[in-house]
């Protein structure tokens, strides 16, 4: 076959997008690193990118730079940038996996009440952690909050899946309506908890509702970071299954997949990604829907590409949003959730308007 010889690029079959996708991944990875450097340079005392790189390269104990700058970079802004990137990755990954699970590009943890479920878990822990839930706090320590958020997210995802999906078929209308109801119900319970709470607790709760990276320290990175990395590392396991699921549950089974196992794993991953993100930064909306959708349109829907690319794209978006959050009202700081909602909500509306392109369900 003469067409099979020649350069690798010429060998590429039409419609095969693996080279473009590899290039996109490389570009996104570079973008994340570059934006992280910019984010570390942004703030009340601005630092040039080359200075940031110099300070990072010199290490946390270096005397080559003024102590103030070393502390700002290493103790304050680096953990914050790492957390922003990890949370962005969690949010976008949660969205991409949820869309694959529901076989629908509109499924998103923040829109369908999963984030609110996680926030409810977290708020319960804040308000009741010293009282009714004290034994839990005693055993789990710093892990109590992320675990409570995970439990809340898992409950919400399971309820949503059970309601919206019958015999392998998802109804978009039911999914959206059930999501709205779930979000409202979780918000109502949070309101009730807020009513029970004291002043300090109330301030913490407000923080969950807007989403922010203000309080990120190395301690938080050390608690949540490793679990987030485990979630990231386990995502590729789902890629092949989610690709098969695109055709439908029966088809996925015909192609050799254990469908029930796949769905359970996907639900766990959505809950873990959302719960972990919410536990650190409160609810941040729209990353999970914007990032995967843009990537699908631009470079392809194959989950072996989409999942890692969404992680990188989410990290990039959240780093950019965090820079915006600190620049727009400097020296004060906007909750980052306001920025992502301001970008994401109009985008979501645009998405709904052009939905006639897609197959109706």
């Amino acid at each position: 076959m003469s067409a099979l010889s020649g350069t690798p690029a010429m060998n590429r079959a039409p419609g095969e997008r693996s080279l473009v996708q590899a290039a996109a991944l490389a570009l996104l990875a570079f973008g994340v690193l570059a934006t992280a450097v910019l984010a570390i340079g942004t703030g009340p005392s601005a630092l040039s990118p080359s200075r940031v790189i110099g300070i990072l390269a010199a290490g946390p104990k270096s005397a080559a730079f003024p102590l103030g700058e070393v502390v700002i970079v290493w103790q304050i802004r680096l953990p914050r940038a790492i957390m922003a990137a990890l949370i962005g990755a969690m949010l976008a990954l949660g969205g991409a996996v949820m869309q694959g699970l529901f076989r629908n590009p509109l499924a998103d943890p923040a829109i369908l009440g999963v984030s609110n479920g996680a926030a409810l878990g977290a708020v319960s822990m804040i308000v009741l952690g010293g009282g009714a839930l004290a034994p839990v706090t005693a055993i789990l320590g710093s892990y109590a909050l992320p675990l409570a958020a995970f439990a809340g997210a898992l409950t919400a995802t399971l309820i949503l899946y059970a309601i919206a999906t019958r015999e392998g078929l998802t109804s978009v209308a039911t999914m959206l309506l059930a999501g709205i109801a779930l979000a409202a119900f979780a918000a109502a319970l949070m309101g009730y908890l807020a009513f029970l709470s004291d002043d300090t607790q109330l301030r913490d709760i407000t923080f969950w509702n807007l989403g922010g990276l203000g309080g990120v320290t190395w301690e938080k990175v050390v608690i949540s970071g490793p679990i987030m990395l485990v979630v990231l590392a386990s995502a590729p396991m789902l890629a092949r299954g989610l690709d098969a699921l695109v055709l439908g549950e029966a088809e996925a089974f015909h192609m050799g997949l254990r469908v029930e196992r796949l769905k359970r794993l996907a639900i766990l991953l959505v809950a873990a990604a959302t719960g972990l993100a919410v536990a650190v930064s409160g609810t941040i909306g729209f990353v999970g829907i914007v990032v995967p959708h843009l990537l699908r349109l631009a470079v392809g829907a194959d989950h072996r590409f989409l999942l890692p690319a969404s992680c990188l794209g989410g990290a990039l978006l959240l780093l950019v949003a965090d820079i915006g959050a600190r620049l727009l009202v400097a020296p004060a700081e906007l909750p980052i959730g306001i920025i992502t909602a301001a970008i994401g909500a109009p985008f979501f509306l645009w998405l709904l308007m052009r939905r006639r392109d897609f197959e109706g369900f």
């Binding site: 099979l4 079959a13 088809e251 050799g256 997949l257 254990r258 369900f361």
Partner: protein
């Protein structure tokens, strides 16, 4: 050996939708499953494919109970073209067809391209690789799915075991030329030693291509035999509730069936 359907019964929503179906299909056979809407044809092929576990009886492929096999193992021995497939994400034709190869071990990139190209050529869709699946016509989408299924099944026989190809209404959206092309693929699959089962509504295609007809009605297997033999009695006309004329055009290998159409002459005013 082959496919053994042993006293299969299926219930859904408290209703019996398939009752006591027994049949044996030998390698090298193309079976057409026919019957009115709602007769249980899709249900029967779902039981054959292992997708639907029968309430009673079982289906064995070369001796193994298909509902007991691991999905991955089953996927190497049988492939299924479903009645309809819609997707919500922008996949290219190449990517969809390539999904069929994911289960097969040891398929490298060059081989994948070759197999996808072959499968697309087989369904007359050369040059469609980079089109988005969602933007194709209904018949084109159906042929893309068939190409994916062909990629999954590969050769009709491996390790002396015939593979099972199940097609649920593979010609429902196709024009006449492609109906013939698609059933010729199924015919060749059987001729090369595979087991092929196709649910069909077009009696002429069923009679013309298959070695055997299985006729379902109300969840029961009401007839099972060679097409020419089944055409002789009034059985088909009774099953479908319409009168039919069987003709044998000179030079044709098999008879053709014409349903008796209502008179459409203009009514006197």
């Amino acid at each position: 050996m082959g496919l053994a359907i042993e006293g299969v019964g299926v219930t859904a929503g408290g209703r019996t939708i398939l009752q006591n179906v027994t049949a044996r299909i030998a390698p090298g056979t193309l079976v057409a499953v026919i019957g009115p809407n709602g007769a249980g044809k899709s249900t029967l092929v779902k039981a054959m494919s292992g997708e639907r576990r029968p309430a009673v009886g079982r289906v064995r492929l070369h001796g193994d109970d298909v509902s007991a096999l691991a999905p991955a193992e089953l996927a190497m021995q049988r492939a299924v073209l479903p009645q309809a497939t819609s997707i919500a994400f922008p996949f290219t034709v190449f990517e969809i067809v390539g999904l069929g190869l994911r289960q097969r071990a040891g398929v490298d990139a060059a081989m994948r391209r070759l197999e996808v190209r072959r499968a697309l050529a087989a369904v007359d869709l050369e040059g469609f690789g980079e089109r988005l699946y969602q933007r194709l016509s209904g018949g084109e989408q159906q042929r893309v799915q068939l190409a994916r299924v062909l990629c999954q099944i590969g050769k009709p026989v491996a390790d002396d075991r015939a593979k099972l190809l199940i097609l649920d209404e593979p010609t429902s959206s196709l024009d006449v030329r492609h109906q013939i092309a698609v059933l010729s693929i199924a015919r060749r699959f059987a001729d090369e030693g595979g087991l092929a089962v196709a649910v069909l509504h077009d009696l002429n295609l069923a009679v013309g291509f298959s070695d055997r007809l299985m006729v379902l009605e109300g969840g029961r297997l009401v007839a099972d035999g060679k097409p020419e033999e089944l055409l002789e009695g009034p059985m088909l006309a009774e099953t479908f509730g319409t009168r039919m004329v069987v003709i044998k055009p000179p030079g044709w290998a098999r008879p053709a069936v014409l349903p008796d159409l209502p008179r459409l002459d203009p009514q006197p005013r």
